[in-house]
Symmetry: C2
Subunit: 326 residues, 2 copies
């Protein structure tokens, strides 16, 4: 099934079930008011939401309406935790190579992850509001999963059973602020503002064969100002699968229902696939030409992020955002 | 007024108003079910909660009951954001000195802060459950503030007006995991598990003269296994006040109502005041004796954290926790 949240009913929106084609929706009001409420009682709620989803896809759901993507908030307009990985090592390898550094051997066995902000997620068509272009505005197209309650110390095999939803995120990054912030030693804060989520999150079964080994096996399609920017394969070069990422985070604490775990920006060894963030593209240019030629985003620029099935149909709906001056 | 949450009514507990002496409570059920709900509509809710607080302190609140600290959850059992500072530079200076490093000049003008986990906070009397003593279990006694909605780009003067509540936090740290984690470059994750919050959060006016210049001017009293461990002055050597810390976080994003902003472990230049974390104490020993003699916490150890007024009465209630093997 596919789940979304309307921009109505309060800070957490109103939960809606969306049909497979992303054209029709129906409020889940009789089941759970919000997606967080559904995740809080997932094992009781999921079967009821599934039944509503089946009725909707059969054209038999009472109260169904035509879906307008602009009316959607992020599926979780605010969440209790977002931990983001950097699971595509070609990105890490390239960035390090560009500055003449080695990738530590441990990076191939121990996931690189960070605590991200979850207090507010932008809706899929909301603008990215930034106060200065000098911050070096960048997109990062990623896959994420949402868990139910995960006990502390789970194995990756156990963690796999706690992955309930899959979605996309534009992990907005302010590249100009990153070097000084990371040099302080405590990770990202100002350099990682609010991210945007895809219109819908879907259950793994909705992905069929495209969800295998706790990875999404489809290309991440990105456009900047309408021009093709990349279609890196999400299932290729992902060093750690989502179950491993979830288990990594849960090593020293339980995870609360509704925790989002991100993959990191999608990047392949094969650079002909393009990139999923400008930092990646600029690094490829630096390694090839000695300098980066593609600029970071400017006010008025637009980004589009989408994952389509083998028939070309959007699965999660597209993230489409304009960069806007605060 | 003083606010707490009972461990009943769901994941977010049940909001109660607590009297000045921390002996009586009354449910705020007719006003807001949870503290998060109150913070979401703070300007409408605060006057009503204040009226209930006045009635309670006058012995006139209907439904008031004797308060049992063991029945309290964290005031916010889960929250959308926790950003923690490291505002006491004597701590930073000492740690750096012990490893022969300098404190960068920028640390005196640019706050060092990090994104912490907010998905679950331990109640004030809940055990700290850890799977291995080898992780190097440590307390960190800190002050924190809670904001309402803060617009992006506020000045410190504007940020001050968004500080609605003050409380304490035991920012549990796993010292053995920190060096390798920070060496990866993306900050804390496994090394900072769930923290515990004080029994109550209080409005700044409740602190009287002890709340000046957006700082708490009282000693942070800590005990380990019942023995005095420290009473560092919260109002001394705090390089950045809470308004500056809030403004730092809000530079590139708005803050959601219910955001917690921590001070970092309380540390003074004057080492006779003791310490607020074992890492601090061990650093003082290393600088003085050439090696640390105080061990990190073991299973069965207890910690106690409290701030009392000039009459010796606890303001926030005490955090009292045992260290327990998972």
């Amino acid at each position: 099934m596919k789940l979304a949240s309307l921009k109505e009913g309060g800070r957490d929106g109103t939960l809606v079930v969306v049909d497979r084609s992303l054209t029709r929706g129906v409020k889940a009001a009789g089941i759970a008011p919000t997606l967080q409420a559904a995740l809080d009682e997932w094992h009781a709620m999921a079967p009821r939401l599934n039944a509503l989803s089946e009725a909707l896809n059969a054209g038999e759901a009472e109260g169904a309406f035509d879906l307008d993507m602009a009316t959607l908030a992020a599926p979780l307009p605010r969440a209790y935790e977002f931990v983001d990985g950097s699971a595509y090592l070609p990105h890490v390898e390239r960035v390090r190579k560009a500055r003449g550094a080695e990738v530590p051997e441990s990076f191939y066995t121990d996931p690189l992850m960070y605590q991200a902000t979850s207090a507010g997620f932008l809706g899929p068509r909301d603008p990215v509001v930034v106060s200065s272009e000098a911050f070096g505005i960048d997109l990062e197209a990623e896959v994420l999963v949402v868990t139910d309650d995960v006990p502390m110390g789970v194995t990756p095999a156990q963690a796999a059973g706690h992955i309930q939803l899959v979605g996309l995120v534009n992990d907005v990054s302010l590249r100009g602020l990153i070097p000084a912030e990371l040099a302080k030693g405590f990770g990202f804060l100002q350099s990682k503002p609010r991210s945007a989520l895809s219109p819908v999150f879907v259950t793994p079964d909705e992905l069929g064969e495209a969800w295998r080994n706790e990875k999404l096996h489809l290309p991440m399609r990105t456009w900047i100002n309408g021009a093709w920017f990349g279609e890196a394969e999400c299932g290729v070069d992902m060093q750690f699968d989502f179950a491993q990422l979830v288990a990594h985070v849960a090593k020293t604490r339980p995870l609360t229902a509704g925790t989002l775990v991100g993959s990191g920006t999608i990047a392949n060894q094969d650079t002909s696939k393009g990139a999923s963030c400008l930092a990646e593209q600029r690094t490829v240019e630096t390694l090839r030409d000695g300098k980066a030629s593609t600029p970071f985003l400017s006010f008025g620029d637009t980004v589009r992020i989408d994952v389509t099935d083998n028939d070309g149909a959007s699965i999660f709906g597209s993230i489409e955002q304009a960069i806007v001056k605060a």
